[in-house]
């Protein structure tokens, strides 16, 4: 019989042994009876000669080598029975494990999807991007930079070791094919872009060099989902013309079904990078692939040689003596470096929660060992070894770990769903966060490790228990030093303090950003965005007409008080411009400023206060004097706070007014997600054709209306008003001002939600820990307390003494926690705005909250002391 058959038929083997032995005894007995013994004497003599029947049977069965398995199964069954017998313990452990391990699993799957999983392209290790290291000088840095047109041309032509692909910002454009119009995401890429990704087209080809040159023929590549949904997977799509931005484009290719690009766009058009326009500034992203015959060193050498000889080295502006090195970096690192610190901080926090959970579970398990000492003592008296007892406990812990781990996967799944729902689209560079093999293995490993951790402490403590005396069941043994449990509580509380302080700072930071003085009236406003990236609106007259007529139409909507258009609104990411002061003592000075174009009525619609001069009016038309309105920060930066009205910039542009500052998201000098910055407001009517033809590639203007009260069909009315001027202009979205702010502060809000959630969980677990500690102490000392009370101690005093231990441990924990904060909080400096890292208000609040929870958790079980009847206790003695 082979081994496997032996396993499954061992029942039969064991039965054979039993029958054999029985037959042997029978035969011997008969023999003895024949020899003259009485039946009873013969039977016992036969047994005596045979030896210990039970032992022989066991040893005979052992010969087959399945003892270990049968022991394990017995342990498992006993374990399940024990766990079911104490459902409170079992459920608490599983619940705690599910939450703690679940949080870790959720965070790890984020880490896995973002940092660990390979990019979904062939040979991802040969793909990279370019980092610029600036050392020495005022602001050393080492990060990925965007490229300008000159850098791109040199990279493309003088670095043969790399195949390079360039992309610009993804824009929203209007697609029109046949009669259907839609708003789609357009990725603008250079000719070789898909070669870098090593994706072969499903149909057709990629862009030719001719199409990628300025003024080349218009071409478009469709993504697979778009081709399938909007064009019904038409195989004859190649060569057909569709209207993008009202400009005819020829379809030259279709991407394969599972193609993923860093841009995640619906259509792709040629980028046409040059040294002018967009290429005049660093506005392009680059990805590279190493050619088969080259090495990274060769590529870097060629790159440095080529770029060091550039005419226009922006890195050196204001920093003449610095050392600049360009080097290639794996693409995965380049894409994930910006979020790496946050993700790792999340992992650390999740690890804290796991430790806190382990401390609680260790305490719980300790109590369980105590409760089961009678059972354990009985087993040992019957011959079980210490190893067998311990093995039993380990098996139970493992069972709990497995069940807890399974529950944790479910919890992680739910947490991830919730997280993805709250995140804005395209926030993460990946589209899905799967719970794949690696994540599940992680969950299993963490569950088992946790169970080892929290099982180890009681197992070590159990060795010192005097089981004999505890068999009576009356004495509840004191296992392990109480100091150990107090230390666990202190540790938990310390970790909780750190988490609470961190999330407290993030919350204060977010509140600070959300309550920046708005500089306008943000109530009663509705915003509609539409894409004007359309050849028809390259003509200034058409552009002016659209803006005039649409705002007039919107003003006719009942309930609307005012309407206007602006290229940017407060709280949005704002483009910028480089200006030169033209008169007075500041003549010749240059600087950057944020730049917005607006229609007359913009400031009035927003109700921005006028500080001096006037707002823009209809009179500021294309043939009139070029004018601008500036804000307070502009006046402060360029004119030292003096009145800017009447001054000239850029030779002939007159400043006619000064308005208050509004918070915006800076592209010029980002210090915080929302800040006030020097801003210029130009009349939309005075935009030149040259600027008009490029600006709407990356700016989507906002139509803004103010209503006197809530208007139920406002969105539909605005769409109709816009449609009455241009029927083919779909609105890409409707927003309130708070939506715009929420979009800009999305990262901060996520941070608060995540870290705050974990801090709350940690607080809960710590409170449970303190509660458990005090409750257990009350249970252990019930007899002692009863006696004391009979001898004259008051209820209050007993409660005070017991509760004090719990609060005392927490106090120590708070102290340690504050010490830890001294080091830990410093790393948050770059993500906190408007508050200092050691903000006293936050720290005081944390201490207060924690002490409140700890005090409540200690007092509640201590109240039970009031129910101890000293007379009853004495009677039990």
């Amino acid at each position: 019989m082979n081994r496997l058959k032996q396993l499954f038929f061992r029942r039969r083997l064991y039965d054979d042994i039993d029958q054999e032995i029985a037959a042997h005894l029978e035969e011997r007995t008969e023999q003895l009876v024949t020899d003259g013994m009485s039946a009873k004497e013969a039977a016992s003599a036969a047994r005596r000669e045979f030896g210990n029947v039970g032992l022989v049977t066991e040893t005979a069965r052992e010969a087959w080598g399945w003892r270990w398995l049968e022991d394990l199964i017995a342990d498992l069954r006993f374990g399940v029975r024990m766990l079911l017998k104490f459902p409170g313990f079992t459920l608490t452990v599983i619940f705690t494990l599910a939450l703690a391990v679940g949080a870790n699993t959720a965070i790890f799957s984020l880490v896995n999807a973002l940092l660990l999983k390979n990019l979904p392209y062939p040979h991802p290790e040969r793909m990279g991007t370019i980092y610029t290291r600036i050392s020495g000088g005022a602001k050393p840095s080492d990060e990925r930079h965007s490229l300008n047109g000159e850098q791109w041309e040199l990279l493309r032509d003088q670095v043969p070791a790399l195949i390079s692909g360039l992309s610009g910002s993804t824009t929203g454009v209007n697609l029109k094919a046949g009669s259907a119009a839609a708003y789609v995401h357009n990725g603008r890429v250079s000719a070789r872009y898909f070669d870098v990704l090593a994706i072969r087209p499903l149909l057709g080809r990629y862009f030719s060099d001719e199409e990628d040159r300025p003024h080349g023929p218009n071409a478009v590549i469709l993504s697979y989902p778009l081709w399938r949904n909007r064009f019904a997977a038409n195989e004859h799509i190649l060569g057909q013309t569709i209207l993008l931005k009202s400009d005819p484009h020829t379809v030259v290719g279709v991407l394969p079904p599972d193609a993923v690009t860093p841009l995640n766009a619906d259509v792709y058009t040629p980028l046409r990078p040059s040294r002018d326009g967009e290429g005049g500034g660093t506005n392009f992203q680059v990805i590279t692939r190493l050619r088969d015959s080259s090495t990274w060193q060769e590529a870097d050498a060629q790159l440095n040689r080529s770029w060091s000889l550039r005419e226009n080295r922006y890195e050196l502006t204001g920093n003449p003596g610095v050392q600049v090195i360009y080097y290639s970096v794996p693409l995965q690192k380049g894409q994930t470096d910006p979020i790496r610190p946050q993700v790792l901080a999340l992992m650390l926090s999740a690890g804290f929660i796991l430790l806190i959970a382990c401390a609680n579970l260790a305490a719980l398990t300790l109590v369980r060992v105590v409760r089961r000492t009678p059972e354990v003592a009985t087993r040992m008296a019957l011959g079980a070894s210490l190893w067998q007892i311990q093995r039993q406990f380990w098996v139970e812990n493992l069972l709990l770990a497995l069940v807890g781990g399974a529950a944790a996967v479910a919890v992680a799944f739910a947490m991830l769903r919730l997280l993805l729902l709250r995140l804005p689209e395209h926030f993460l560079p990946v589209s899905a966060i799967p719970l794949d093999g690696r994540v599940l293995t992680f969950t299993l490993a963490v569950s088992v490790l946790t169970s080892l951790l929290f099982g180890m402490l009681p197992a070590m403590a159990a060795r010192s228990v005097d089981f004999r005396s505890s068999m009576g069941g009356r004495t509840v043994a004191r296992i392990g030093s109480p100091r150990l449990r107090l230390a666990l509580i202190a540790g938990e509380v310390a970790l909780t303090v750190v988490l609470l302080a961190g999330s407290g700072l993030l919350i204060r930071s977010l509140i600070h950003l959300q309550t920046l003085p708005p500089g306008f009236n943000s109530h009663g406003l509705m915003v509609a965005k539409a894409s004007l990236d359309d050849v028809r609106y390259h003509d200034p007259a058409a552009f002016r007409r659209l803006l005039d007529q649409s705002t007039s139409a919107m003003r006719l909507i009942p309930g609307v008080v005012n309407a206007a258009v602006g290229s940017n609104l407060p709280y949005e990411f704002t483009g910028n411009d480089w200006i030169t002061l033209s008169d007075g003592k500041e003549a010749g000075q240059q600087g950057g400023a944020d730049w917005v174009y607006v229609t007359p009525g913009y400031f009035e619609t927003l109700q921005m206060p006028l500080i001096s001069g006037r707002f823009l009016t209809q009179a500021d038309g294309p043939n009139a004097q070029h004018v601008v309105v500036v804000n307070r920060s502009f006046a402060r930066k360029f004119y030292g706070g003096g009145n800017p009205v009447g001054r000239y910039i850029d030779k002939d542009t007159l400043i006619v007014g000064e308005v208050a500052d509004v918070p915006l998201s800076s592209g010029l000098n980002p210090v915080a997600p929302l800040q006030t910055e020097e801003t210029l407001y130009s009349p939309a009517a005075q935009l030149e054709a040259r600027l008009l033809s490029v600006i709407h590639v990356w700016v989507q203007p906002d139509w803004i209306v103010r209503t006197s009260g809530p208007v139920s069909s406002l969105a539909a009315d605005m769409q109709r008003a816009l449609g009455s001027v241009d029927a083919t202009l779909p609105v890409s979205g409707f927003y309130g001002m708070s939506d715009l702010m929420a979009r800009t502060l999305a990262t901060q809000r996520i941070e608060v939600a995540l870290l705050g959630g974990m801090a709350a969980l940690a607080l809960l677990l710590s409170a449970v820990g303190v509660f458990g500690l005090v409750a257990n102490m009350v249970a252990q000392r019930t007899r002692e307390i009863g006696i004391r009370m009979a001898l004259g101690s008051s209820v209050g005093r007993s409660m005070w003494q017991i509760g004090l231990t719990g609060v005392g441990a927490s106090l120590f924990g708070v102290l340690f926690g504050l010490l830890a904060c001294a080091g830990a909080l410093r790393v948050m400096r770059s993500v906190i705005f408007g508050v200092g890292v050691y903000d006293p208000l936050t720290l005081s609040a944390v201490i207060l909250v924690l002490l409140l929870f700890a005090w409540t958790a200690a007092v509640l079980p201590a109240l039970r002391i009031a129910t101890i009847d000293p007379a009853k206790t004495l009677r039990d003695e």
């Binding site: 032996q6 083997l13 054979d16 042994i17 029958q19 054999e20 032995i21 037959a23 042997h24 029978e26 035969e27 011997r28 000669e49 045979f50 030896g51 210990n52 029947v53 032992l55 022989v56 049977t57 040893t59 005979a60 069965r61 052992e62 010969a63 087959w64 080598g65």
Partner: protein
């Protein structure tokens, strides 16, 4: 109690004796016990029960085969029989034992002319 802990027996001795006995003729457990006791002229004190674990070990190692049948006294018994592998193993063990015995004997009788 493992057979190896018994007095006078070294590990493998019991198995060797069982194989030898069954080589002559297949027997069931009780008969085997009686046979060994008699053959050793009652000098070896073997607990009868200790046979059974040994028999199982030999079964597992496929040196023996077992079959239920009816004995001459109309009793249902499990008969053990030597396999070819068992016969070979027996031969091997016996020659090893004899060599060992020869060596010990030599040491114990140093004066040999």
């Amino acid at each position: 109690m493992k057979p190896s802990e018994q007095r006078d027996l070294f590990p493998g001795a019991l198995e060797m004796m069982i194989l030898r006995t069954l080589k002559i003729q297949p027997l069931h457990g009780y008969a085997l016990a009686q046979h060994i006791k008699k053959a050793s002229n009652h000098t070896l004190q073997i607990e009868e029960g200790s046979l059974y674990p040994a028999l199982q070990r030999l079964l597992k190692a496929e040196l023996l085969k077992a079959e239920w049948s009816i004995s001459s006294t109309n009793r249902r018994v499990r008969i053990y029989k030597l396999t070819p592998a068992g016969a070979k193993h027996l031969q091997h063990e016996v020659s090893r034992f004899e060599r060992m015995l020869e060596g010990i004997t030599r040491v114990l009788s140093p004066h040999e002319s």
